[in-house]
Amino acid sequence: MNNSADSSSEAEVSSEFPYLEDESVVAVQRGPEPGGLGGAYRAFGETLRGLKTTFARIVEGPVTIQYPEEKTPVYPRFRGRHKLHRFEDTGLEKCVGCSLCAAACPADCIRVVAAENDPEDRVSAGERYAEIYEINLARCIFCGYCEVACPFDAITMGHEYEIADYNRDDLIFTKEMLLAEPLERTPLRREGE
């Protein structure tokens, strides 16, 4: 009974108005009518305004950074390729081979093999040092957890971002590579820039 009443009312409504009353009808939004002379004048004026806008871009000049010659400056806290550090006075490595960075690494891309320091010929300031320290940059996600985990600030995230290479094997950076100063310094963004 309920059904039949519904269908009859539906038929009633649809004969006058093609939509059900409770159905939400979306009104179509249209732009203003072009209009005769006023519309033409408006179109002409808007065209001129557009021309002014584009010409202002010429006056401003290009904002392009000519990449291979010019580099995008990075922020001081930018997380680029890792760097290993030495003490500046003694020249000893800060890394003591504790492997905390390897433990913290979510991508599991750090490999540390520690060895005992020879007291005659010390490599690091601590009891042990990293005999092998490798970072597989193909897997690294540059999260910076290794930097946070390191108790001696031996590893930090540098600013270098041009790491692309032709071979995956070449992306495994050894300790010597991580200790070396980068050939070219990445420009740093100034305060407030």
Binding site: G50, L51, T54, R57, G61, P62, V63, T64, Q66
Partner: protein, 333 residues
């Protein structure tokens, strides 16, 4: 009362005509590559970037690299393409474009040589005739490709031609009536006091809008419409055949600018000695070409029905009104 035909008082020797046609060819084929790189650079500046700047000093060798790339491309022909018409179409477009250049006056008659290809008595009708044939190039190319996008582009080109050629002719009619001649040289000579852009400003605007449609440039590049039709009539073309279409577009731009300069900006008239005349024409033409690029950088492509309604409902009545008013004024004064 002078006849509305050009009074070409002298006949030039055949060898002069041959030399002139060679010069016109050389000049246009030197200007088109420059135009392509200038357009890309200017467009870049409009979009706050540099544009091509890698090949050669300031990227000026870019057209050379483009040409080498286009020429050495594989010649590919779709299976559905109609054998003879398909390769002819792009050639037709270039041919008509270059042929139209012949009537553009770059200067007066000096030392028995006119600084124009030829001063045809029917003048501007020659331009319209070849402009219509140029559209056959698009139409044939689109139809003979045997692809749906090409065909749609060709249909649009045809409809666009019909809608805009009439307004274009009527827009020029005002200037023709004021000059009392169809010859482009006489029309320029008639502007030695005042350029027709002032008394014929409405005609000038209509001509420019119709000219944008005629050259298939933004915002009326519907036959190409790369957002909807891949590349319209040019979809199936590659290599230098595609290059011909691109080149023809620039030649047509140059021609339309040249006609606009001749009819509304006083052609070779300008301060300075007589030998500066061709320079003035070139400078004015380049100002128009800059306008073409400026508009392209600014306006979005119009919808197809907008294009049609603009042509038939706005430009045509306006152009007719302009012709009527000019006719009355010319008769009264």
């Amino acid at each position: 009362m002078t006849l509305p035909f050009a009074d070409t008082n002298f006949a030039e020797a055949t060898w002069i005509l041959v030399v002139k046609s060679i010069v016109i060819f050389a000049v246009i084929f030197a200007i088109v590559p420059v135009l392509t790189v200038v357009e890309r650079k200017v467009l870049g500046r409009f979009q706050a970037r540099y544009g091509p700047n890698r090949v050669g000093p300031y990227g000026l060798m870019q057209p050379l690299a483009d040409a080498v790339k286009l020429v050495t491309k594989e010649h590919y022909r779709p299976r559905n393409a109609i054998p003879i018409l398909w390769p002819i179409a792009p050639a037709l477009v270039v041919f008509t474009g270059v042929a139209t250049l012949a009537i553009l006056p770059f200067g007066d008659v000096k030392d028995g040589v006119g600084f124009y290809g030829i001063d045809v008595p029917i003048g501007i009708l020659y331009f319209f005739a070849f402009g219509s044939i140029a559209f056959y190039g698009l139409l044939l190319g689109g139809w003979a490709s045997g692809s749906k996008y090409s065909f749609l582009g060709a249909m649009r080109a045809a409809a666009q031609l019909i809608s805009y050629e009439i307004s274009m002719g009527l827009a020029l009619l005002g200037a023709i009536m004021m000059a009392g001649s169809l010859s482009l040289v006489s029309i320029v000579e008639a502007q030695h006091q005042v350029w027709y852009i002032l008394p014929q400003f409405v005609g000038f605007l209509i001509f420019m809008v119709a000219g944008f449609a005629e050259t298939n440039r933004a915002p009326f590049d519907l036959p190409e419409a790369d957002a909807e039709l891949v590349a319209g009539y040019g979809t199936e073309y590659g290599g230098m055949r595609y290059g011909s279409y691109a080149m023809a577009e620039y030649i047509e731009m140059f021609v339309i600018s040249g006609v606009a300069v001749t009819f509304f900006l006083g052609g070779w008239h300008g301060p300075g000695p007589g030998w500066l005349d061709p320079i003035w024409v070139i400078v004015k033409i380049f100002a128009f070409l800059f306008l073409f690029m400026w508009i392209r950088a600014t306006l979005p492509r119009v919808r197809y029905d907008q294009l049609m309604s603009l042509g038939w409902k706005v430009l045509l009545p306006l152009a007719t009104l302009n012709v009527l008013v000019t006719a009355v004024l010319v008769t009264v004064t």
